[in-house]
């Protein structure tokens, strides 16, 4: 019985991966965010060079663009979830895979499988670019720190994509989900800044790859940040699962 349910999950996961890979928008968004990230990394690097050199570490310059690029991963997550509701595909999906909890979990896992390498590449490309540009000024960089920071950045993007997918699945429609999430990540959160508690998904996740400047009170270690963002993601995925199992398709 165990074996068969394991095989069942593999099949569903395969189907969900197929769905993501054959959706052209997903590819566009991944490539688009990669290119945009390079352009922005270039912009940040030259802006950083004009500033008094050395105030910002190269890692931070290379990763600063992720503030924008995370939008691509937010949209990626929303699309992965909401594409089910286009063209009545959800009915096809559920008549083939009527085990809703399993299906939605497989979808999130499939999304993570695609996001992890893409997120790692995007973060690494930004850092490598600024490393390359500033190689003459920089005084060597610790490989260990770099790997840790990159892993943190990739983890942040992946968890953000999963969180967005869960919210997309809760709302069921692309546009409200995009407005809600982009509005939160890009308008409400930066603006309200200090008024909001530090354990919200974006502020906590930020500490996964950005090291707080000395003066900050709410500073968290990367591990704490990861834990908090993971909790948020799991919370929303659970809510999405509960609702998905209950509602009429």
């Amino acid at each position: 019985m165990r074996v068969s349910s394991g095989r069942k999950f593999t099949k569903i996961l395969g189907a969900e991966l197929d769905k993501l890979v054959t959706l052209p928008l997903i590819g566009f968004i991944l490539i688009g965010s990669f290119l945009l990230n390079l352009v922005l990394a270039a912009a940040f690097t030259s802006a950083g060079q004009q500033d008094s050199a050395g105030t910002q570490s190269m890692l931070e310059l290379g990763l600063a663009s992720l503030r924008y690029t995370q939008a691509g991963y937010i949209i990626l997550g929303i699309l992965a979830a909401c594409s089910e509701y286009s063209g009545g595909q959800i009915r096809t999906t559920l008549t083939v895979i009527p085990w809703r909890g399993l299906q939605l979990s497989a979808k999130h896992l499939a999304l993570a499988i695609i996001t992890v390498p893409a997120a790692f590449m995007i973060a690494a490309s930004g850092v490598l670019y600024s490393l390359f540009r500033m190689s003459n000024t920089a005084a060597g960089i610790d490989i260990g720190t770099m790997i840790k920071t990159l892993a943190g950045a990739a983890g942040y993007l992946t968890l953000t994509a999963l969180l967005s997918a869960a919210i997309g699945s809760l709302l069921g429609r692309t546009t409200p989900a995009v407005v809600l999430l982009l509005g939160y990540y890009f308008v409400v959160s930066p603006l309200a800044g200090e008024l909001l508690p530090g354990y919200l998904p974006d502020t906590a996740g930020y500490s996964m790859y950005m090291h707080p400047s000395a003066g900050e009170i709410n500073a968290r270690t990367p591990i704490e940040g990861t834990g908090i963002l993971m909790l948020w993601t799991l919370l929303f995925i659970t809510a999405a699962l509960v609702l998905y199992r209950k509602r009429d398709a």
Binding site: Y68, Y85, P176, F186, V187, L191, A249
Partner: protein, 249 residues
């Protein structure tokens, strides 16, 4: 005129438009309130450098509402994301009801412009009263010319979103680009650190119609003119594309 009324009734029967109107009406006041809270100490102490911006910050960031309005007005004609796939592309119906495409486009743009003017006036009223409430006697004066600039900024932004969406036929890309760009972490602000050309981007130039910025290079009038130029060019391109395109494509 009848086409215009038809467009108005089409817009108001979309739930998304009501969301946009709500955001446009509430967000500026909310943002100004947040900003006033954050700034109050400095303002009272007389050391704030941003006093003339108080209140207006809400109006420059609160254009989200009209962006959603402009995008949805167009994308709703093309994309229907309902569980019943019977719902098709409304654009076919629109163009058979009013066969002249340029009339449809102008009527729709007119409807968007009128709604965004009303929305902006409402937002100004709420924002001014909220700022008065928060800052009391320290409230800066809201000059008529700057408020007029705000209205222009909103209408131009709505029309930019509108024309952009005619080109993409899809809500996702314009919504993501414009929402992020109208936030605190706008691309234009970043780019303006690198190249002077960024001052000619529509949002940066348009904001000078009413924001007092340290590094301004336009007068309010030329700023408005630059933004209007963008609107005109983009709108003409959108009109040409819309007139030539096969509806089904």
């Amino acid at each position: 005129m009848r086409a215009f009324q038809a467009e108005l009734s089409k817009l108001f029967s979309l739930p998304g438009i009501w969301l946009a109107v709500l955001i446009g009406a509430v967000a500026p006041a909310g943002i100004s309130a947040l900003d006033s809270i954050a700034q109050k100490e400095d303002i009272v102490a007389g050391i704030s450098t941003r006093l003339p911006e108080a209140g207006f910050i809400g109006l420059v960031l609160g254009v989200q509402g009209v962006i959603i309005l402009g995008v949805l007005a167009v994308s709703s004609e093309y994309l229907t994301e309902s569980s019943e796939s019977g719902a098709g592309h409304q654009i076919t119906t629109s163009l058979t009801a009013v066969p002249s495409r340029i009339h449809v486009l102008l009527a729709k743009a007119g409807a968007v412009a009128v709604i965004s003017i009303l929305q902006c006036i409402f937002a100004i009223l709420t924002t001014v009263s909220v700022t008065h409430l928060m800052l009391g006697e320290y409230t800066p004066s809201f000059e008529g010319s700057r408020l007029l600039g705000t209205v222009c900024y909103w209408v131009f932004t709505a029309l930019l979103a509108f024309a952009f969406t005619v080109l993409t036929k899809n809500a996702l890309i314009p919504l993501a680009v414009l929402l992020i760009n109208s936030s605190l972490v706008s691309f234009s602000v970043l780019l303006s650190k690198i190249t002077k050309l960024a001052y000619y981007l529509p949002d940066r130039a348009g904001a000078e119609m009413f924001m007092v910025m340290g590094d301004r290079i336009h007068t309010p009038f030329t700023g408005g003119l630059v933004m209007f130029g963008w609107v005109a060019v983009l709108f003409i391109i959108a009109a040409i594309v819309f007139l030539r395109r096969d509806v089904a494509a």
